[in-house]
């Protein structure tokens, strides 16, 4: 297993370099640059050009790329064009909130999917099955920005149960347990959006995978040997059906990251997704590149994890 993992890590590094090259090319090729977003009658073009030169924006793409790679290799991610912030610290401050949001949503989704997927597979075409299926599909059938707006309208404005936005109640300045509870309250709506728009796929896949396993011979054998239905579900069907589900979990990470773009924007959550949108529109590519590279690392790690789990669960697959 270890050589396999090391091998994959090495491959991952190559991919990162490739991705960085293409992503950098695209961001530099994007029309307009950080300085051109700044048109002000008090700032004549020659001043803008001087600023462009200072940031190296007047250089050809490959020169900018080589310089960027050189700096990154020395551990310097550079400075944000728009704000002058050191990129590492700037993006770093956004990782926590995004992980908090994504992690919570991921955990809730996974638990919900395994539970509801198995339950509906145990009684296919029952009222429960239809109910869960309907609800899960309804959740993914509305664009997430609209779900988010609707939740804000109903649960924050009409009912006043949860706050509309932000990470915490800034004016209150909570600490300790009060801060924890306050953040929890702020988490509910954005997590709900991510779960609603992400759970259905997993629920359906767990259901169909379990359903498929239940039709296998070994399950019939187990049943005929008098193994309880519960144990059949848990020990046999669920375990074996985890196989296709695991590949989906690998995919879930980039999907959650993508989902965080919209969710963080609507809920003004101070995460990476929102920063990426702002950076792209401001052509602030040192920041955008850092976020993209970070996302790439996460996705590669997720994919590696999925493969390792895959091997662990399915005895038929072995990596040498």
């Amino acid at each position: 297993m270890l050589p396999f993992v090391l091998n994959r890590v090495a491959q991952g590094a190559v991919i990162l370099v490739l991705v960085s090259f293409v992503a950098f090319g695209i961001s530099v090729a994007a029309p307009g640059n950080a300085m051109q977003t700044f048109i002000d009658p008090n700032v004549p073009p020659e001043q803008l050009r001087a600023a462009e030169a200072r940031l190296g924006l007047d250089q050809p793409f490959y020169v900018q790329y080589v310089r960027w790679v050189g700096e990154v290799a020395r551990g310097n991610l550079g400075y944000s064009f728009r704000t002058g912030r050191p990129v590492a610290a700037f993006v770093g401050s956004r990782i926590g909130p995004t992980f908090l949001l994504m992690g919570t949503a991921f955990a809730v989704t996974l638990v919900l999917a395994l539970w509801l997927g198995t339950a509906t597979a145990a009684r296919p075409y029952s009222a429960l099955d239809y109910g869960v299926t309907g609800a899960a599909f309804a959740g993914i059938s509305v664009p997430s920005f609209f779900t988010a707006m609707a939740l804000i309208y109903v649960f924050a404005l009409r009912l006043g149960w949860f706050p509309t936005s932000g990470l915490e109640d800034y004016a209150a300045g909570h600490t300790g347990i009060a801060l924890f509870l306050d953040r929890l309250r702020h988490l509910v709506l954005p997590v709900t959006v991510l779960v609603l728009t992400g759970a259905a796929e997993l629920v359906r896949h767990v259901r169909s995978a379990v359903l498929e396993e239940l039709g296998q011979d070994y399950v019939r054998t187990a049943r005929s040997k008098g193994v309880s239905e519960r144990a059949v579900l848990r020990r046999h069907a669920l375990r074996n059906s985890l196989l296709p589900v695991i590949t989906l979990v690998g995919v879930a990470l980039p999907r959650l990251l993508a989902g965080s773009v919209i969710t963080e924007t609507v809920f003004t959550w101070p995460g990476m997704g929102r920063l990426l949108v702002e950076s792209v529109f401001a052509r602030d590519y040192p920041v955008a590149m850092a976020i993209n590279m970070l996302a790439a690392v996460l996705v590669l790690a997720g994919s590696l994890l999925a493969d390792v789990l895959y091997a662990a669960v399915d005895p038929r697959v072995r990596y040498s």
């Binding site: 008090n42 001043q47 600023a51 704000t83 002058g84 706050p163 800034y170 004016a171 929102r274």
Partner: protein, 553 residues
């Protein structure tokens, strides 16, 4: 920190603003309904830089003006009143302005404010390595060019006379110099001077500003908020609030936060006005602004070079419908390139009426005859492409109206939406090597854009004189009207205000005739205020016009 008790007197509130100027430090009293408490407000975008000399945007300045003060500041009627300076004098040759600072001014860290801080701030803007893009504002100072080129050790036009007196000398009489000074926040030399000017944007001082304004900077959590607290030593008296928090976020979400009571005040998008008005707890403030929207034309395009076509477009577009429908009445149309509430706007300008019949007649006369759905001349269809920058929902919505209106008179318009930086690449084009080049016929036909006067109509100069066509300036439209250029250059050196009014109003009338900019509408700004916040009264100067007097119940 001691809290002084303030007597409640409405009269004093009104008087304080004017009477305070003569008063020495310590003698100033502010009348507050309540002293203390925290207010939370919002804006739609996060500031980028808090060093006021680094490419400031409105979102930056809204925060900067809490922390910093200027020598002089604009009044509600757009003249100037003393801020850190208690008085100023103009020399006889009109080239030298001498400012005297108030006595006893201090920075937030307790250090005294001196004339050297002022000289430092203005000199930094001319520094050869200064990265902030505002050099042009003070380049008319004597010796600024030499210092900027690295040929001198100081700007000879900036003189510190004593601790409280500083003078500025321009190479020739420069009318907009007072407005320029009124737009520059003064930085403490002992803080900002310790940092290499070239590294100002990257330095921590760009994120943790220190000034002499009403509030002391406390913290900025990126993506979340900026927090400031009252400055006890503020020359105009300690602000009523203890603490002010400014959040940033999506406009609809911020409106929701206002409606749910999480915010004390927030800007309101126009289609949110109804929600605020129908909420008994909230009050809607409507403020005139100095910005407007227009259709820009590429005068290099032979179709648009014909004044009859531009006039036909202006007559065919139903601008009243935009104001009543899209702006829901929060705004007005305007008939030339200056905002209607600015002194440069000519009151007698010929109105642009909505008259599709007249538009058709004009086009007919110009040789454009209807052939099928659209008009044509010599086999060429009367077709134009309209570039629409995204990001301003009301402006985006005018595009289909313009398209439908112009179709009714036989002009075909194809709409292309793009984000702002992409539009800039069309207006300020570059060649394949990335070198800025002149605008050609093919770069654009029509575009939508906004323009706002910050302080003085001289800001239009680069947009209107032929020598400033790209790559030299911002005249992407290609305006080349000798009378306009002469007047604009004359306005720069004319000091008499009445004469300047006449000059710029004449420019307004000429641009109305030309219609190189086809003016559309001038939107008002809306703010919603919750029941806790007292004294919130934004005006043409912005949301924080009297922030020191805000208080919370």
């Amino acid at each position: 920190m001691t809290r002084r008790t303030f007597t409640r007197s409405l009269l004093l509130v009104a008087v304080a603003a004017t009477a305070a100027f003569g008063a020495a430090q310590g003698g100033v009293q502010r009348t507050c309904e309540v002293v203390g408490g925290t207010a939370t407000i919002a804006q739609w975008s996060e500031p980028g830089n808090l060093n006021p000399l680094i490419f400031p945007t409105t979102y930056d300045e809204n925060i900067q003006e809490l922390v910093f003060a200027r020598l002089i500041r604009p009044t509600e009627t757009l003249t100037f009143e003393p801020d850190m300076a208690e008085s100023w004098e103009v020399s006889e040759d009109a080239r030298t302005l001498t400012f005297t600072l108030r006595e006893g001014l201090t920075w937030h860290d307790g250090e005294p404010v001196t004339a050297r801080d002022v000289a430092f701030t203005f000199t930094a803007m001319a520094h050869p390595q200064y990265p902030g893009g505002r050099y042009a504002e003070i380049s008319t100072l004597e010796g600024a060019e030499a210092y900027h080129a690295g040929e001198a050790d100081a700007v000879s036009g900036i003189q510190v006379i004593d601790d409280r007196t500083v003078s500025f000398t321009t190479t020739e009489p420069f009318a907009p110099f007072l407005p320029v000074i009124g737009g520059i926040f003064i930085l403490p030399e002992h803080v900002y001077g310790a940092v290499d000017v070239a590294r100002w944007q990257e330095d921590v001082t760009n994120r943790e500003p220190l000034g002499s304004g009403p509030f002391v900077f406390q913290q900025w959590r990126p993506g979340e908020f900026v927090e400031v607290t009252a400055f006890d030593g503020y020359w105009e008296g300690r602000p009523c609030l203890d603490r002010l928090i400014v959040r940033f976020g999506d406009q609809n979400t911020m409106l929701a936060a206002l409606l749910s009571g999480e915010l004390d005040a927030a800007p309101v998008p126009i289609d949110g006005a109804e929600s605020v008005e129908s909420n008994p707890d909230l009050q809607l403030h409507v403020v005139d602004a100095l910005s407007f929207q227009y259709i820009g034309t590429n005068l290099r395009n032979p179709i648009l070079a014909d004044p009859a076509v531009r006039q036909a477009i202006a007559l065919a577009v139903n601008r009243d419908a935009m104001v009543s429908g899209l702006l829901q009445g929060y705004g007005s149309t305007l008939d030339t390139i200056f905002p209607t509430n600015h002194w440069s706007y000519p009151p007698d300008v010929t109105p642009i009426e909505y008259d599709p019949e007249a538009a058709r007649a004009l086009l007919e006369e110009a040789g454009w005859v209807q052939s099928g759905q659209y008009r044509a001349k010599d086999g060429q269809e009367l077709a134009l492409c309209l570039f629409v920058p995204t990001g301003n929902q009301v402006r985006e919505r005018t595009a289909p109206i313009i398209q439908a209106n112009l179709r009714q008179v036989g002009i075909r318009v194809d709409i292309e939406s793009m984000d702002f930086p992409t539009l800039v690449t069309h207006l300020m084009p570059q060649d394949a090597q990335g070198t800025p080049r002149a605008v050609s016929v093919d770069d654009f036909d029509l575009f939508l854009l906004g323009f706002g006067i910050e302080r003085d109509p001289n800001e239009y100069l680069s947009y209107l004189i032929p020598s400033d066509m790209p790559p030299n300036g911002f005249n992407f439209i290609g305006v080349d009207i000798p009378e306009v250029a002469d007047l604009m250059l004359e306005g720069r050196v004319t000091l008499d205000q009445d004469a300047r009014v006449a000059i710029y109003q004449e420019v307004g009338r000429l641009m109305r005739e030309s219609l190189a900019w086809i003016p559309l509408y001038q939107a008002q700004e809306l703010y919603g205020v919750g029941p806790r916040l007292q004294g919130f009264s934004p005006d043409v100067r912005g949301v924080n016009a009297n922030v020191a007097n805000w208080s919370v119940r």
